[in-house]
Symmetry: C2
Subunit: 135 residues, 2 copies
């Protein structure tokens, strides 16, 4: 497969990286993602890398590129689900992923994006407290 699917959720885009990013796939992803940001007026990009167990400088650079490109188009990028070993490798490689926000998991990443863009979303959890029912 030459494409990584990009899912739209409200004003966010979600990408799950499950395969090794070789050259063409990575370039396709960059191109698709910026086009999609522009087409859908997305305000945030969530990249899930929980299935990625090995990271190299190429992949680090691609993620950095995506974040920079999205930023120019006024969308924030959050990388979620990084495995501890990947974090170790990134730092040992001297790639601290500048300009990229990270979060432990998808939900925290979504919360982070929401807090960063703070627009009155349909999904914003700002409904009155009396809607809550104690479980």
């Amino acid at each position: 497969m030459d494409k990584i699917p990009i899912l739209r959720m409200g004003s966010f885009l979600l990408v799950t990286i499950q395969v090794d990013l070789y050259d063409r796939l990575a370039l396709n992803l960059e191109a698709d993602l910026v086009q999609m940001v522009q087409k859908t007026n997305a305000r945030g990009v969530l990249i899930d890398i929980s299935a990625v167990s090995i990271v190299d400088s190429f992949m680090g650079r691609i993620i950095g590129n995506i974040a920079s490109m999205s930023k120019i188009l006024d969308a924030e990028t959050v990388v979620v689900g990084m495995q501890p070993a990947v974090a170790i490798t990134l730092i040992e490689l001297g790639l601290p992923l500048k300009g990229v926000h990270t979060a432990l998991n998808m939900e925290k990443g979504m919360d982070l994006l929401k807090s960063m863009i703070d627009t009155p979303e349909e999904e914003a959890n700002d409904q009155p407290l009396d809607d809550f029912v104690a479980e």
Copy 2:
């Protein structure tokens, strides 16, 4: 990679299938998914197959199995993003995916799940209208 990542979003689980499902991968996915449904009290499972261009009877059966297993655990399954060619193939193979709900894309799938389970969610769009600001 031997695992397909399962992302949690509120009370839904999201799975994006990007690679061909061979035996072990499919069985792992089934097992992981039902465990995850049980662990997270998920009420819905979204399976995105927009990257799947070829489907066979094995894959059809796996999706059917996941839906049946989730149903027993009180979670609905929605398959989203099916390519037209895949829909044609499924019907020609005589696999109408019984018990599986489908939706055109992720957002519609999410709406469908919400309407099926109609619980007062954090993400439910039931906040008062005066919270909205005209753009």
